[in-house]
Structure formats: structure tokens, C-alpha cells
């Protein structure tokens, strides 16, 4: 299955990420975000466990992706793989394990300034989960 796809947006970056379940679509959205920032292969030299929560699915996704940006800005850490992602759909919290590398080894070409709620959605169509995000760059 296609993991993610970029769409046209005049000033910013827009993508959709897909998954068999919501966890997979969230995971793939991280890969799309990282792809928007760097093209390099990222080693898995470091592991970080994260937990985020939200008020609904959108804010959970927003906070989850924002965590990725936060790790870049505050720890120079770039995510390579997302593992053990668990989402509680009732209380909107999420835990996951990131593995990745420090940015000094990478070619970085775009700094995503922020995740936005613009055009954001998390939805299930037939058996497929789709999330859409516009990144402010």
C-alpha cells in the first residue's frame, strides 16, 4: 500500500498518509513529514519514547507531528523509524518509539516551521485510514 503522497499547495507542503489502521496512517504521516525535511537516509542510532495526547483525532495528529519538530529543534534528533505505536481512540492519547539520528549527519533542505490545522483530517474510507496535513514551511 502507498505510504504517503504529496499534493500541490502554492506556498506550503500538503500530504496524505495512508494505513490499514489508524496507527499505520499516523506512522506514515511521520515519514511524510521527515521526507519533507530531509532526503538522506537516517541511521537508527538513538531511541526515544514519546507520549502525546489530544482532544480529538486531529489534535492528536497535530501534537504527534509537532513532537517530531520539537525533537528536531530541541535535540537535533531526526526520526527514522516509528515503532510500537499505540493509539487510544477513546481518550486520544498515543505512545510510540522513535529511532533515529542526530541531524549533523544529514542533508536538510527544508525547515518545516509548523504543523497546521489547515485542511487537516483523519478519516476512514472503506477499509483505509487517510490523514491529510498541510505543513507551514
Amino acid at each position: 500500500m502507498l505510504k504517503f503522497k504529496f499534493f500541490s499547495h502554492t506556498a506550503d507542503i500538503k500530504f496524505r498518509a495512508y494505513g490499514k489502521n489508524i496507527e499505520e496512517s499516523f506512522k506514515n504521516s511521520v515519514y511524510a513529514l521527515i521526507k519533507s525535511i530531509s532526503n538522506s537516509k537516517i541511521e537508527e542510532s538513538k531511541k526515544i519514547k514519546i507520549k502525546v495526547s489530544g482532544k480529538d483525532m486531529e489534535s492528536l495528529l497535530y501534537n504527534f507531528l509537532e513532537e517530531v519538530l520539537y525533537l528536531i529543534d530541541s535535540k537535533n534528533f531526526f526520526v527514522s523509524k516509528v515503532r510500537n505505536i499505540k493509539i487510544n481512540k477513546k481518550v486520544f492519547n498515543l505512545s510510540a518509539e522513535f529511532s533515529g539520528d542526530l541531524g549533523k549527519n544529514l542533508k536538510i533542505f527544508s525547515h518545516v516551521k509548523a504543523i497546521t490545522y489547515n485542511e487537516m483530517f483523519v478519516k476512514k474510507i472503506k477499509e483505509k485510514w487517510i490523514v491529510q496535513v498541510v505543513l507551514d514551511v
Partner: protein, 942 residues
């Protein structure tokens, strides 16, 4: 933007005519060639609808689509009536199709599309200016999430647009609504847009729909009518010693509603309580009890007189003839409904189950002395005839003998009963109860119950006839049972297969009493009842959709994303292009090494958290104090490099962590550092004031507040969502707080801190540039020419209609362009106007312009901030080859240092409008004037 929307009113000036709910027209400053099909003009229109907007909603020459507000958009707002909105004020209009009926406070369901007819324009004069405001005469009932009560709120905005994607939601009860995908609906988990709704999710419903008539009734008349009806039941008006008294009886809660209503029409009243012993002789026994009774006394003599005039009988109603006033009988249904609903609030029995799933007939009980028997019957017949107008025809009158009254007179009891569930639905949903919260609640629940019961019966009837149909086709009983295996039990099929039995509700259908408990719990918990979704389907074609904004959302500070204080800094050196010859590559490498992009690597400039707080509060000024620059560095900044309202304690630790390691970094994307040569001087005199000469080397830095600014925005968006909910914000980034609220003020202080971070960030870059230049050019001097902000909302004074007025100007991707004389300009430049810095893109020129007086008149002191993007990043990556861009730069002797090829492509000159053309238009318009053209020598990007 669509060409046909634009009316040319001057060279490079187009107007979007005021239409719909726009408060002002739109003004777009572009050339004909630049008109492209996009949504930017729609955004200009949206901005024009904001309250308190002054003169025009402006789009500058470099305009392109942004979030809500276009990039290159400028709008000024009146300080009292207007809104402040950092995120660009943008709010999408969404939502309901035109046939959606909206319940008004006086019990009418009006199609949302007709509300426009009821809007009436009023001109408000303020500070010498006339503002157009649209006022709606009707208020709408809304649920207050905090106290879980229904309150009537004024409509502030009414909006409409064309939408492609429309969905229809159908509930189990058969209620349905059409809306756009973003339209929020109230669920048990708060507001959700259609996309978030789960299968069978519960949506809040209100079964009361009132009547269809859309004429607007006068508030005073509406309230008087409701009250008159109620008093025909539980009130009295009497005269004694030439004074008139008016009293109304009811529960304390209901009397409070009446009191508030009376207050609305300036009638004073008060609620009194008294303990009373009662002794009532019924025909069975003498009943004794005591109660605390509440009564409301009307104080206004004038109002009591008017009730009398409206037909309120004086004195004891059981001992005199009572008729429904003729004028009500001859009025429209709006008047009749208000009277009846008021009367029913006092006199019509509560919805109550008579068996598991059936209801007692709603009944009006009237007691009268025997000799007025004829009149009692006449009165009930009048009610019955009125009900016919609401299509409630199945009524019956009965009479029985009753107790003797305190005068010893024989009394009789007359009843008007409404039978059949269909009629009950009409009675509860269309006429309803006024001034009786308990019965309103029960009627709402009972109506939902009846609808669900009806749907269930319909389903069973359909199945029953299907069973008979299959029998005719020769299917055996077992075969038919197999077909309907999952839909209904075998016994049902058997019965309808063999017998001609009638249909009754299934035995396992919930009893009304259980249903009632369930729904009363929902009301207690959420303030409303819910019904679950049956299905949602997409409807084909285009639809016009409408939406409102209600009162609570008025006068807010919207807080979105203008926090990065992204801006441009121009440094002048004492070097010329000759000094640079042969050293370009070396300098480029050195600068790339010295000035980090920061992304993923951080900055070598490290400070403690304590010091970082100082930076957030004092901006450039703190760093200059610490020796990282000179006083002139911040004196030549907008705001002198420090927003005084900043408070570091209001910036989250998370935001600080995203910022502390990034001081002195450029960031990536469209942020850059350019070394340029002054190629051409247009205005020698002003160039001299700015300190610019031909062939001089200058440095242009474009960067913002990095991750910190965005984290601040993100943090406060969350706080505001908690405080105010996202109910009325289709675009979640437009969440806002009132400017004077605690949260609003805190946000402003945190945002100012983020702006100071951006100033400080550039101060470190200035410091490093000086260090590096000295290495290569020992005699070099670097001075700040000017630093401007691109994304900011500021309070500024303008002359509007001959009067000095302080307004709040929003510049989203626009540069301030003040002409001579403004106090905000450093005094060295005050005589000529402020420098306006326009960076080009890779391989194109950049410009230094000067602000003008005309910009203050035309564009609230604003000018363009760059060329303006025309191609998306994805499109650029698809169509432009990085190699070609590189080759072209080499051929122009421009040295490029960049993180990646992709970035080169994404920022290629082709993706922007032609800067020379943009600047020419700006000069023709007179909103700023060309001073110097800069030619690119070295560009550091990402």
C-alpha cells in the same frame, strides 16, 4: 481570483465590489497580467466581512493565497468595533445548505438562506467615521456549554459561499441535515466536523421546530403574547382601588425566565414566595396541603394596561366569560403560536406515558362555574379551531362535574384532548410550550421517542408487506425467514406469513419511561439530548452553503500563526564590489561555516535559561548590552528591536527548548542570507540618507523566530481551545480569545517574546557577520540600514475622514511603508520616509524602496514584501531542474550555497512573480518609491 469579479478603477488598481456581508469593498493592487485563477480574492472578501474593518480589504501586488487571509494582505480595524487577528483573521465560511431551517428565539424555523432578507443595515458613527453594520433582528437559541442552558444569542455574521462537497446526515429519528464536510456538529465529545463523526455517533438534537413563517415579529409583541397566553392560564390581572395589579404563578425557574423576558422589553417585575395552606374540595374528598408558591408581580403600570388592552380578563377567570381575543384569532400563525404556547405552558398537560410505549392524550383542563358552561365550551372550541391552523385536527371536548368553589357555587370541568401520536408530534414540535422548562424538556424527549417509534413501525410494516409478497411468489415460510434472518425474528415472519395481523411496536422497543431516564441524564450531563446517526452520504453537484457566527465570537483576538515575526534585515558595508573580486568563493564558504542554518544542528551560540528569559523580554537590546553589537543596531529596527509587552514567564518550557539552541541561525525554506551589490541608484538624495552608493556591498538577511514562535502559537491555540472550544471555528487555526481577556493578554505578551527572539536572532547573525568580515576585510564596517517585520499586527495612527484615528493594522506578508514625518521612523530617516526592503528570489534583483505618504492613504502604510509565489513547491520540483537553476546562477556569477538541490528548485525564480514588475507597479501606485536596485553576489540558503 476571477477576472469578472474585479473592476478596474485605476492603473493597477482593481476593486472587488461590496456584496453580501462585506463591510467594505476589496482593493487589489496588481497588473492585468497578474490576475490568476485562485482563491485569493475570496479571501479578500472574507476579510472584508470582519467587523470594524476600515475602508478596504487590501491585497498588495505580491498577493497569493494564504490561510484565511491572503499573503500580501493588509487590513485595518477600528479599535472599538474591530477585531485583532494575528493569524490573518481568516475564517472559512462553511456549512449548511440554504434549505436548512434555523430555529429562532420566537419559535420560527426559517431557512438559513432567508436570513439575509432579515438583515438590516445600520450606520454607526464612530470617531467621525460611519461604519456599516449589519444587524439581525432575530436571535437564535444556542446551548451554553458552561451552564448547559439554552440562551438566545444575536447573529453577528451571516455568510454564504458555493461548495462542491455536501453531505447529508440522516439520524435514526429521520431528522436530516445537509452540510459541508467541515461543519461542526455537537456530539457527546464536543463539536466534530462531519469527517470526524463515527458510525452511529450521537448528535445533539432539538425536536422543537416551531413554524415556517419567516416574518419577523417585534420583540415586545412576541414577549407580550407569550405572557398573555400564559396568564390566561396561570396569571391574573385585577383592579382594586383604581390600581391595577398583575401576578403570574409558576415555578421559581420558569418565573425567572419570564422576569428576564420582561427585562428585555424594559418591564420591571419581581418574584415573591409565600407559604400557603390549601384546602380543596374535589368531588371525591377534601384535600389539604401546604406549599411554597412563587409569584411574579409586574410593576409597570403601562405594561399591565397594555395586557388589559390585549384582552387579558380582569379578576377571577373561573367566574366570568373568557374568550380568546378576536385580534389574535385574526392574526397570523406567528401570533397564534406565541399565544397558544404561552397558554399551554400553563394549562396543557405534560407528556406522560399511559403504557409502555403510548402516551396519555395531551389535555387542557378548565374549571368553570356551571352557569358559564356555554362560555367554557366556547373557549375550548376557540382553542380547538386555532389548533386546526397548525394541522392539529384530532381533538375532542368532554365535560364532568367538579367541586364547589369557595363561594359555594357548583363548578364543572371541561377538557380538550388531543389524540393520535401524529397530532401529538405536531403539538409538541410546532406549537410547544413557553415558560415551562419542564414541559419543554419532556416534549422534546417525547417527540424524539415518537419519531423513533414511528420509524421502527414503518420498518416493520415494510417487512410485513414484503413477507406477504414473498409468500405470493411461492417462497416457503422457512425460505422467507432465511431472507430476513438478521432483520427480524422468525415469529414476526410467521405471523405475517399466515395471518393478516396488524402491526404493533415490538415488545423489546424501549419503554418511554426508560427512554426518559436516559434522555434526562443526557440533559443533565450535556444540556441537550442526542440521536444517533443512521447514515451520511455525499450529495452530487454544487450547493450554496450558509453559516452564522453568533454573538460570543464577536470582538475577539484571533490567534493564529503570525508569531514568527519573520522579517528582513539590510546591512550596509563600507566595501565595494571591487573589494570582493576574487574573494567571493572564499567568503561564501566562510559565511556558510559561520552562520548556521541551524536545522537539526543547532547553534554554537549557547545561553543559560536565565539569560534566555532576558533575551525574550529585551530582544536585541539585551544582546547589545552584553556586547554583541552597538546601539545603532537596534535603533534602526522596527520597535527598536524590543517589544516591551513581552513576558518570558508566559512562554512554555517546550517553546524555550525549541528556541534556546537556535539563536543566530537562519533556518531553511524561504529564509536566506544574501550578499549583494548596489547595482543602480534611482533616488540619489534618499540613497544618501540611507547611506547607499553604487557598487557598494550590502547584506540581506531574512529569518524569523524559528521553532519557538510556532510553539508559542501552538501552545496558545491549545489553551484557547480549552477555554473557548472550537465550535465556531471551521478552521482550527482561527481559534481566538477576546483581546481584553486574561488569555488574550497573556498571548500577546508571549507573542511579543517570540518577536523579541526574532530580533535577537538577527542580532547574533549581525555579530557573526562582523567577526567573519573582519577576517577577510580588516577595515570592513557593517552597519544596520534597517530591519522590517513582515508578519505583524500593530497599533498605528492614521487620518481617516479628516480625523486622527488609532487603528490596528494587520500585515500578513507585507511591509510597513511609512512616508516622511512618522515618529515610528528612526530620526535619521524621518525626513525622507522609512526604508522598505524587498528581497527578490535567487538570481533576480532585490530592491530598497522608501515609504510614502500615499501609502498611508491607500494601503494603511503598507507595501509589498517580495515577489510573491506563483508556483507550488511540488509543482516546482516536478517542472524545474535544479541543475538548470544552478547553471543560470553560475552564468550570472552568483555563488550559491545550499543544503540541497531540492531547496534550490523550490526557491527558483520561476516560482515567483517577476520582482521588477511588482516593484514598478508599487512605484506607479505610489505606495513606495524606488531608491536602489541590488544585484545578487552570494546566496546562502537552508
Amino acid at each position: 481570483m476571477k477576472k469578472e469579479d474585479l473592476k478596474k478603477i485605476g492603473e493597477n488598481i482593481y476593486e472587488i465590489a461590496k456584496s453580501g456581508n462585506m463591510n467594505v469593498p476589496g482593493r487589489i493592487f496588481i497588473s492585468e497580467r497578474m490576475i490568476v485563477e485562485d482563491n485569493a480574492s475570496e479571501q479578500i472578501r472574507n476579510v472584508a466581512q470582519l467587523p470594524g474593518i476600515l475602508k478596504y480589504s487590501i491585497g498588495l501586488t505580491d498577493m497569493h493565497v494564504g490561510y484565511g487571509f491572503p499573503i500580501g494582505g493588509v487590513a485595518a480595524f477600528d479599535l472599538k468595533k474591530g477585531v485583532i487577528s494575528p493569524g490573518g483573521v481568516g475564517y472559512d465560511i462553511n456549512c449548511l445548505t440554504g434549505d436548512s431551517k434555523i430555529l429562532t428565539e420566537f419559535g420560527q424555523s426559517i431557512p438559513i438562506k432567508d436570513f439575509e432578507k432579515h438583515a438590516h443595515k445600520i450606520n454607526i458613527e464612530q470617531n467621525g467615521m460611519v461604519l456599516n453594520q449589519i444587524e439581525f433582528l432575530t436571535r437564535l437559541p444556542t446551548l451554553n456549554f458552561k451552564n448547559k442552558k439554552i440562551e438566545n444569542k444575536k447573529i453577528e455574521f451571516f455568510m454564504s459561499k458555493e461548495a462542491n462537497e455536501i453531505y447529508e446526515i440522516k439520524l435514526n429519528s429521520g431528522l436530516r441535515i445537509k452540510a459541508t464536510k467541515e461543519h461542526p456538529f455537537l456530539t457527546k465529545e464536543g463539536m466534530k466536523s462531519i469527517f470526524d463523526l463515527k458510525d452511529r455517533e450521537n448528535l445533539a438534537v432539538n425536536l422543537f421546530e416551531g413554524i415556517k413563517e419567516s416574518e419577523i415579529i417585534d420583540k415586545k409583541q412576541a414577549i407580550s403574547l407569550k405572557l398573555l397566553g400564559y396568564m390566561f392560564g396561570d396569571g391574573c390581572l385585577y383592579e382594586s382601588k383604581k390600581k391595577i395589579y398583575g401576578a403570574i404563578y409558576g415555578t421559581k425557574e420558569d418565573l425567572k425566565v419570564i422576569k428576564n423576558d420582561l427585562k428585555e422589553i424594559n418591564v420591571n417585575s419581581n418574584i415573591y414566595s409565600r407559604k400557603r395552606d390549601h384546602e380543596i374540595k374535589t368531588k371525591y374528598e377534601i384535600v389539604k396541603f401546604n406549599t411554597t408558591n412563587y409569584e411574579l408581580h409586574i410593576h409597570s403600570k403601562e405594561f399591565k394596561e397594555s395586557l388589559k388592552k390585549m384582552g387579558m380578563p380582569l379578576g377571577n377567570k373561573t367566574r366570568q366569560k373568557i374568550n380568546i381575543p378576536d385580534w389574535i384569532k385574526n392574526s397570523n400563525r406567528i401570533v397564534k403560536r406565541l399565544f397558544l404556547a404561552g397558554f399551554f405552558g400553563a394549562e396543557l398537560s405534560s407528556p406522560k406515558a399511559s403504557s409502555k410505549t403510548c402516551f396519555y392524550c395531551p389535555t387542557i383542563d378548565q374549571n368553570k362555574i356551571e352557569r358559564l358552561k356555554e362560555n367554557a365550551r366556547e373557549f375550548l372550541i376557540e382553542i380547538s379551531l386555532l389548533l386546526e391552523e397548525f394541522d392539529i385536527k384530532n381533538t375532542r371536548i368532554t365535560e364532568t362535574e367538579d367541586y364547589k368553589n369557595k363561594y359555594g357555587e357548583k363548578t364543572m370541568r371541561f377538557r380538550l384532548m388531543v389524540s393520535s401520536e401524529e397530532e401529538m408530534l405536531k403539538l409538541w414540535r410546532n406549537v410547544g410550550f413557553e415558560y415551562n422548562l419542564k414541559r419543554q424538556k419532556l416534549a422534546n424527549i417525547a417527540a424524539l421517542y415518537l419519531l423513533l417509534k414511528k420509524k421502527e413501525n414503518e420498518k416493520r410494516n415494510k417487512l410485513a408487506s414484503k413477507v406477504k409478497e414473498y409468500k405470493k411468489k411461492g417462497f416457503s415460510l422457512k425460505e422467507v425467514q432465511k431472507i430476513f434472518l438478521n432483520q427480524i425474528n422468525k415469529r414476526f415472519i410467521e405471523r405475517h406469513y399466515y395471518e393478516n395481523s396488524g402491526q404493533r411496536i415490538n415488545l423489546d422497543f424501549i419503554s418511554f419511561n426508560e427512554f426518559l431516564i436516559e434522555k434526562l441524564n443526557e440533559i443533565k450531563k450535556y444540556g441537550t439530548i442526542f440521536d444517533s446517526i443512521k447514515n451520511i452520504k455525499k450529495l452530487p453537484g454544487k450547493h450554496k452553503v450558509y453559516d452564522f457566527n453568533l454573538e460570543e465570537n464577536h470582538n475577539f483576538v484571533a490567534n493564529g500563526f503570525i508569531v514568527s515575526n519573520c522579517g528582513v534585515l539590510l546591512l550596509k558595508t563600507n566595501l565595494t564590489s571591487k573589494d570582493l573580486i576574487g574573494k567571493e568563493k572564499m567568503l561564501a564558504d566562510a559565511l556558510e561555516k559561520k552562520i548556521p542554518s541551524g536545522v537539526g544542528r543547532g547553534s554554537p551560540f549557547q545561553v543559560s535559561y536565565k539569560e534566555f528569559d532576558q533575551i525574550l523580554e529585551k530582544g536585541s537590546q539585551y544582546l547589545v548590552e552584553k556586547g554583541y553589537g552597538m546601539k545603532e543596531d537596534y535603533l534602526f529596527c522596527e520597535e527598536e528591536g524590543c517589544m516591551k509587552e513581552a513576558d518570558a514567564s508566559l512562554v512554555s518550557d517546550r517553546a524555550k527548548k525549541r528556541g534556546i539552541g537556535q539563536l543566530g541561525t537562519i533556518g531553511a525554506g524561504n529564509h536566506f542570507l544574501d550578499v549583494l551589490e548596489v547595482e543602480k541608484i534611482f533616488d540619489k538624495k534618499i540613497a544618501e540618507v540611507f547611506g547607499l552608493k553604487k557598487n557598494q556591498i550590502v547584506i540581506l538577511v531574512h529569518c524569523g523566530s524559528r521553532g519557538l514562535g510556532h510553539q508559542v502559537a501552538s501552545d496558545y491555540i491549545k489553551k484557547m481551545e480549552d477555554e473557548y472550544g472550537i465550535k465556531n471555528f471551521p478552521d482550527r487555526e482561527l481559534i481566538c480569545a477576546p483581546i481584553n481577556s486574561k488569555l488574550g493578554k497573556e498571548y500577546f505578551s508571549a507573542m511579543s517574546a517570540a518577536a523579541n527572539f526574532a530580533f535577537a536572532n538577527k542580532q547574533i547573525i549581525i555579530h557573526w557577520l562582523r567577526e567573519e568580515f573582519i577576517n577577510h576585510f580588516p577595515k570592513s564596517k557593517i552597519e544596520v540600514l534597517y530591519q522590517v517585520c513582515h508578519n505583524i499586527a500593530k497599533f498605528e495612527e492614521y487620518v481617516i475622514d479628516g480625523k486622527k484615528t488609532k487603528v490596528c493594522v494587520h500585515r500578513k506578508g507585507a511591509t510597513r511603508s511609512f512616508g516622511p514625518g512618522r515618529i515610528e521612523i528612526p530620526k535619521e530617516y524621518r525626513k525622507v520616509g522609512q526604508p522598505v526592503l524587498i528581497p527578490g528570489s535567487m538570481g533576480t534583483a532585490s530592491y530598497v524602496l522608501v515609504g510614502t505618504k500615499k501609502s498611508e492613504k491607500l494601503t494603511f502604510g503598507s507595501s509589498v514584501h517580495g515577489a510573491g509565489r506563483v508556483m507550488s513547491r511540488t509543482e516546482a520540483v516536478k517542472t524545474i531542474k535544479g541543475e538548470n537553476t544552478k547553471k543560470r546562477l553560475i552564468s550570472q556569477n552568483i555563488i550559491l550555497r545550499s543544503g540541497s538541490d531540492q531547496l534550490i528548485v523550490e526557491e527558483s525564480p520561476e516560482v515567483y512573480k517577476n520582482i521588477d514588475e511588482v516593484v514598478d507597479i508599487v512605484e506607479n501606485l505610489g505606495i513606495s518609491k524606488k531608491v536602489a536596485k541590488l544585484k545578487l553576489k552570494i546566496v546562502l540558503i537552508g
